[in-house]
């Protein structure tokens, strides 16, 4: 790694949670496969079909993303500043220069895709270019490139493969129960019912685990991006700007909170504001900003 890169201590809790989630996903799908095989379901056949789709999707992700988002690849001449930022960060990550694309949209956003650093693509919207200053845009691109370097696209493609497979099986079992099939007809109805309900449960738990993994990888990319840019504060500022967290500033008077606290067992000021985020792909912006500010104070 480049000598100018600042190194922060890895968050052991986050790493533990990430590996635990991956382990649980492995256990879940291994147990599920075992159950289906015991019930006589031809899971290998289904896995091959879904696998082929997943490989096509994975290997062509950059082209598919360009097509589906309307992103247009841009040259150094067309976007010199963007190329300079990406080039500088790519050399810090010691990765090949990714392709760069622009999406003509006022919605501030950016993303990275590609199955490995050699086939990566980074895209930003015109909206984000307009709203962020150079330091903030650099921090956002640093975060996106961290996803590629951390192998997040591979990890999540794998997680999503199993979720897609379970979803496919769920539909298959449902139609099988309705119309019969798989050579077993009526006599296999009980096993099919068990397989169907097991699939629903595995699909649901699998989704939750993949979503949790996605959120952990976001924190990981924030951390790595902050290391590479040496500027966690700018990523926090960018997040605040993009997400419109300023709108979270309340319209309520502090004295009313004090009065309310008199009737509460847990102080309102101590309660989280994020709510249940089990179903979110990203962690709350407030929590990401809080972690980045913590990194900033440790610099």
């Amino acid at each position: 790694m480049n000598k100018s890169v600042k190194s922060f201590k890895t968050d052991p809790k986050l790493v533990t949670r990430m590996y635990f989630t991956m382990f649980m996903l492995g256990v879940l799908y291994a147990a599920f496969s075992f159950l289906l095989m015991r019930l006589g379901v031809p899971i290998i056949f289904v896995a091959i079909i879904v696998g082929i789709f997943a490989i096509i999707q994975y290997s062509m992700s950059d082209k598919m993303v360009l097509k589906s988002t309307g992103a247009k690849e841009v040259s150094q001449k067309e976007e010199p500043e963007l190329h300079d930022i990406v080039g500088m960060l790519a050399s810090r990550y010691e990765m090949p220069m990714p392709k760069i694309a622009i999406i003509d949209s006022d919605v501030p956003n950016a993303f990275a895709t590609g199955r490995n650093p050699n086939r990566s693509l980074i895209a930003v919207t015109t909206g984000i270019q307009k709203r962020l200053n150079k330091k903030e845009l650099t921090a956002v691109i640093g975060h996106e490139l961290a996803h590629i370097v951390n192998g997040d696209i591979k990890v999540l493609a794998m997680g999503n493969f199993f979720v897609t497979l379970t979803g496919f099986l769920m539909q298959m079992f449902f139609f099988n129960m309705l119309f019969g099939g798989m050579g077993r007809r009526r006599e296999g109805g009980g096993a099919m019912m068990i397989a169907y309900f097991a699939t629903i449960i595995v699909y649901f738990i699998g989704q939750l685990l993949v979503l949790a993994l996605t959120r952990y990888r976001e924190y990981g990319a924030d951390h790595k991006g902050a290391e590479i840019c040496g500027d966690p504060g700018s990523l926090a500022d960018a997040l605040a700007k993009i997400s419109g967290t300023v709108s979270n500033i309340p319209d309520q008077d502090l004295r009313k909170l004090q009065t309310a606290n008199a009737f509460l067992i847990i102080s309102a000021s101590l309660r989280g504001s994020g709510g249940l985020n089990l179903f979110s792909t990203h962690p709350s912006v407030e929590e990401r900003i809080r972690r980045l500010r913590d990194l900033e104070t440790r610099m």
Partner: protein, 198 residues
């Protein structure tokens, strides 16, 4: 610090309030902030607490006697929300900060923690909101919440609840943080105080 249960450092009120001294100098040098040399301590009245009931008699001895004596003047006011304010004024900003801490500490040490709500410093600032807009000489406040042990800016645009300049507060919050002040990280805790009586 445990592997599974690491905790953030708990600051003392003075650790946080005293950062205002450094921050004020830095921002004043940049021409962005002028403290108005006034501050208020906001607390709720608890009639069962003898110390709070008789506190007005204690203030003089706290401020003007002993080692940390200052020339800070004070005034006690009650507001429409049935809260009490001790309004302090001192031409010396270091003494103002010190007196604010001392009074707050006296209330906090002799009452329920929930009685002590906030210490509020008055400021005038010039703030650049974005490339095209800026505001100068804006009357603003820096609120220190005792329960959160952190500051945040408050720029009211009127006396009614909810009337505030959130965009300018966000920019000022960043400047204050950059200058060393400990700023509340959770925007949802930046609660306003409308009708400040000073």
């Amino acid at each position: 610090m445990g592997f599974f249960n690491s905790k953030e450092k708990i600051f003392d009120d003075w650790d946080v309030i005293s950062t205002f001294l450094k921050s004020e100098t830095l921002l004043q040098n940049k021409g962005e902030l002028t403290p108005a040399r006034r501050a208020g301590i906001l607390y709720s009245i608890d009639n069962s607490n003898e110390f709070l009931v008789n506190f007005s008699k204690e203030i003089s001895s706290i401020l003007y006697e002993g080692e940390g004596a200052t020339k800070t003047s004070y005034e006690i006011k009650k507001d429409g929300e049935e809260m009490r304010w001790i309004i302090l004024e001192d031409g010396n900003f270091t003494d103002l900060v010190s007196s604010t801490y001392t009074i707050g500490n006296a209330i906090g040490s002799n009452s329920d923690k929930n009685n002590l709500i906030a210490a509020i410093f008055e400021l005038y600032l010039s703030v650049k909101i974005d490339e095209n807009s800026s505001r100068t000489g804006v009357r603003s406040y820096c609120i220190y919440r005792y329960d959160r042990k952190a500051f945040y800016p408050f720029i009211p645009t009127g006396d009614n609840e909810g009337e505030r300049d959130k965009a300018a507060e966000s920019v000022l919050g960043k400047d204050l943080r950059d200058s060393g002040l400990i700023i509340e990280k959770d925007f949802s805790q930046w609660m306003g105080v409308w009708g400040i009586p000073f």
